[in-house]
Amino acid sequence: MNNILNQIGIENYIFLSVLLFCIGVFGVLYRRNAIIVFMSIEIMLNAVNLLFVAFSTYHQDSEGQVFVFFSMAVAAAEVAVGLAILVSVFRNLGSIDIDNLKNLKG
């Protein structure tokens, strides 16, 4: 494992993760479908997870990988809650377009 990182270099992992993260961010910004926004957020989280693992390997330290489990668990919980909310929104509005959520403003 050491070798791989030495060969490719930690910077590249960071760039990749940042790239993924930004894709997630742009997804959140540009998509209007709530599910896709969720997924974009998942991309952001997973980009971070990737970076955690990379750092963990880089530092030869297991803590980072443990943290990834935490973060995955948390993300799962978040999605569970999120989807539940989504369902009730869909029931009430018949749509999951976040542009329709404009009752609260001003």
Binding site: F21, A34, F52, L104
Partner: protein
């Protein structure tokens, strides 16, 4: 750590109580439990945290943590006390809501006592997810749904950013342990990821405390959520996030450079000004208090400018603000009930129909506006005084101007209560709301008269 375990156990009890159909007993038992937790926290406080080495890698119960935990427990106590009546119409979900509040408390306690970033992250997620649920808890109410949705989307976005920040910090420091990070940060050259990571975490927290320009969610969510949830958000969640931000910065790099301070100054000014200006034109009380909360976040951010000795000050401000907030929400809840018309017009003539409630709401608004004998005054004063000592006279002047503006909308409500005629007939007010309101405003005034009760806690 014992506190955290006890709280969690209490939360689990609530869930079990539902199974055993102990709904009637739920609130009394929870309250007793919370009181026990309060006692436990206070008792643990007296023990030197250095002696308690079992959990040091994750949790450190120092003065700061204990003090804030005590405050959180107290706030939760009030919130739980109000739950019984508030959720009258949802008996089946009642125990869930109480349980979620208790878990939320667990998250909050974790957030102020962490020594490991993973604990911090878990705490913040527990807190946030609980709030998502609570915000959307009125399943059939489109507003509540929207609030939950907005909060959830933006909150998880912010979580992502926090997570990214943590990751970068880890990448730079090879550890999640804050004491370790602190030592490392003093030493050699650091990769640029480290400060970027810190900034990202800070931004995430700024979102949680609803500081401008990351505040947009707050008014919408506050307005849409059930009143009790709004109360939770605006008091417990806000001061938790603020305390956590403070702790984060103070444990990780004690000396913030001037450039970073400038960011804080700008964010603080923006928050205060936007919060107060926007609040002026609000008609919905909850929304108004949301903007007021934004401006208070701006005020509290001033504490970050003198981070080495502002701990007790922040505690005081948080306590003053949260207690006033609880009192205000207790009155709001008792007037508006769960949902319905929440405009200021609803408060017309309250001074005549319910003089006590009106007086309490007035007092809490005065406290938020920073009028003496209420603790809000001392809170603001100490903040200003500290900030002047740090050399930010300009910021204080902006703060003062904002205080003046804030009187405008706080008094709008007071005017409504005392000068307008009541529209509807007199409605009964559940005793428990009154009790909560009286207690919290009493605490507020007591610490206003004897600020030392709070400020001395952290030396």
């Amino acid at each position: 750590m014992q506190t955290l375990i006890a709280i969690t156990a209490l939360g689990v009890f609530c869930l079990i109580a539902e199974i055993f159909n102990l709904r009637k007993l739920l609130v009394p038992v929870t309250v007793v439990g919370l009181l026990a937790v309060l006692g436990l926290t206070l008792q643990l406080w007296s023990i030197d945290p250095a002696l308690d080495t079992r959990y040091t890698s994750m949790i450190a119960v120092d003065g700061f943590a204990s003090a804030f935990s005590t405050l959180f427990v107290l706030l939760t106590l009030f919130l739980v006390l109000m739950s019984d009546t508030f959720y009258q119409e949802h008996p089946t979900k009642f125990s869930d809501f109480v349980a979620i509040k208790i878990f939320l408390l667990a998250g909050a306690v974790a957030m102020v006592s962490f020594t490991n970033l993973s604990m911090f992250f878990l705490g913040i997620e527990v807190l946030s997810i609980s709030l998502y649920v609570l915000a959307a808890s009125k399943r059939l109410d489109i507003k509540s749904n929207e609030a939950g949705m907005k909060y959830f989307l933006m909150g998880s976005f912010a979580s992502g950013i926090i997570l990214f920040g943590i990751c970068l910090i880890y990448g730079a420091m090879m550890s999640f342990d804050v004491t370790f990070i602190k030592e490392m940060s003093r030493s050699a050259e650091l990769p640029i990821w480290f400060p970027i990571g810190i900034i990202l975490v800070v931004i995430g927290m700024l979102f949680k405390i609803a500081a401008a320009p990351f505040h947009f969610w707050a008014p919408d969510v506050y307005e849409g959520s059930p009143a009790l949830t709004t109360a939770t958000m605006s008091t417990l969640a806000k001061v938790t996030a603020m305390a956590t931000l403070f702790k984060l910065l103070s444990v990780m790099n004690a000396d913030i450079d001037s450039k970073f301070q400038m960011v804080i100054v700008v964010v603080s000014i923006l928050s205060m000004s936007i919060g107060n200006l926007m609040a002026l034109r609000q008609d919905n009380v909850k929304r108004m208090l949301a903007f007021s909360g934004i401006s208070h976040a701006g005020f509290m951010l001033m504490a970050l400018l003198s981070i080495s000795n502002a701990g007790s000050m922040l505690l005081y401000y948080a306590a003053a603000y949260a207690l006033a907030g609880i009192a205000a929400f207790a009155v709001i809840v008792s007037v508006t009930g769960d949902g319905g018309n929440e405009t200021t017009a609803r408060f017309n003539g309250l001074g005549k129909t319910h003089p006590l409630l009106a007086a309490i709401l007035t007092a809490s608004l005065l406290s938020m506006a920073g009028i003496p004998i209420f603790s809000g005054f001392f809170a603001k004063f100490m903040l200003f005084s500290q900030t002047i000592q740090s050399g930010y006279l300009f910021l204080v002047i902006v703060g003062v101007i904002n205080s003046i503006i804030s009187v405008g909308y706080y008094f709008k409500l007071i005017l409504a209560m005392y000068t307008k005629e009541a529209g509807e007939g007199k409605q009964a007010v559940p005793l428990v709301y009154t009790i909560v309101a009286v207690l919290s405003i009493a605490f507020n005034i007591i610490i206003g008269l004897y600020p030392a009760l709070v400020t001395d806690l952290l030396g």
